[in-house]
C-alpha cells in the first residue's frame, strides 16, 4: 500500500462558491464569506494552512444597509502626512466603486496575518451579475443568502393581488394620506 501513502483524493482542491449580495447586509455577509475564504467550513481546517475556497460575489451594488447607515457609516483614510485624515460617507464610497464597501468589510473582518493577502486574492467581487465566462465556469456551489429578497408589489401579477385575502373593504371616499392641511384664505 505504499503507493497509496499520500493518496488524498480531492481533499485540498479549491471549490468556487457563488454569493448573491442583493439586498444583503455587508456586515453580516462578511463573516459568512470569510468562513469559506478561510476554509472554516472544512474538517481539515487549520489556522496556519491555506485551505480556503474561492468566493464569487455578485450584485454588490445592490447591498442593503440598516437604518441611516448609508449616511452615518464612514470609511476612514489617512495619507500619513499631517492633516492627511479624511472620512467619507459610505454612500459616496459606494457611488464611486460599488464593490468597495463589501471589499473593505471583508478585509477588516479577516484576521491581519500573513494569510490575509492570499485570502483576499480568492475573493471575486462584481457589481452586477455580469461575471466573466472563465470565472463562471468554475463555480460549483452557492452560499445561501442571509436574508430572503422580498418581492415588490409590482412584481406580483394582478391575479395574485386580487386573490390576496382582505379583512374589509375601504370606503369609497376614504383618503389614506390627506397631506398638508391647506388654509383657506
Amino acid at each position: 500500500m505504499a503507493q497509496h501513502r499520500v493518496q488524498q483524493w480531492a481533499t485540498f482542491a479549491r471549490m468556487w462558491w457563488l454569493y448573491d449580495a442583493r439586498w444583503q447586509c455587508p456586515f453580516q455577509s462578511a463573516p459568512v464569506i470569510i468562513r469559506h475564504l478561510q476554509g472554516l467550513h472544512k474538517p481539515i481546517y487549520h489556522p496556519l494552512s491555506d485551505v480556503g475556497d474561492h468566493v464569487v460575489v455578485i450584485n454588490t451594488e445592490h447591498i442593503a444597509m440598516e437604518g441611516d447607515l448609508w449616511r452615518n457609516w464612514r470609511h476612514f483614510h489617512h495619507t500619513g502626512y499631517p492633516g492627511g485624515f479624511s472620512a467619507t460617507r459610505v454612500w459616496k464610497v459606494h457611488e464611486a466603486d460599488p464593490t468597495k464597501v463589501l471589499h473593505k468589510q471583508i478585509y477588516s473582518t479577516v484576521k491581519g496575518n500573513l494569510l490575509r493577502r492570499p485570502i483576499m486574492a480568492r475573493l471575486h467581487l462584481y457589481p452586477d451579475d455580469n461575471v466573466p465566462e472563465d470565472i463562471l465556469k468554475n463555480i460549483t456551489g452557492q452560499i445561501r443568502q442571509l436574508r430572503e429578497v422580498p418581492k415588490r408589489l409590482d412584481e406580483y401579477t394582478q391575479d395574485e393581488r386580487d386573490a390576496f385575502p382582505r379583512l374589509f373593504e375601504w370606503p369609497a371616499d376614504y383618503v389614506p394620506n390627506p397631506g398638508k392641511k391647506t388654509v383657506k384664505s
Partner: protein, 148 residues
Amino acid sequence: MFLTAVNCIRGAPRVGPAKFWRVQQYLRFSWGFRGRKRHCYRIGMRYIHKALVYATQGRQLKKIQMHKLWDMRIDAAAQEHNLTGCNFCEGLARSNIQLDRKVLTDLAIFEPRTFQSLVEVSKRRLEEEGIADVQAPRPQGVFTRGML
C-alpha cells in the same frame, strides 16, 4: 577511576562546589539559545527561568488551542450534514456515545462515512428528544447555474 573527564577534574561526583554542577544543568537547558545566553550562566539563567515559565503555561495553552481547533473542525464537518457542531455533540452525549473531540475530528477527516453515520444517530436522537428540528426541509432561495 573516572571515565568522564569532568569527574577526574572535580574529584568524585557530587563532591566540590555545588555551583559547578548547577551550572552544568543550566547549560543543558540553554543549549538551544542564541548568543551569550547559551554559554554564560549569569545571562542564560534569567532566560531559562522565563523559558520554564513559558513551558508551564504552554502545556495549558496547547490543550485550550487544540480544544478550539477540534471544535471548529467538528462544527465544519457537522455543517456539511446540515447540523451545527453544538447540536451534534449534544445528540451524541444524549445517545451515550462517548467519543471525544479528537476522535470525532479524526473520523471526520479520514472516515467521513463513519462520521456521517454518527451525524445520523445524533439527528435521530435530537428529533426524539425534541431538541432541534433537524429533519426540517432546508429553506428555499438557492438558485442554480441555469438560472444565472
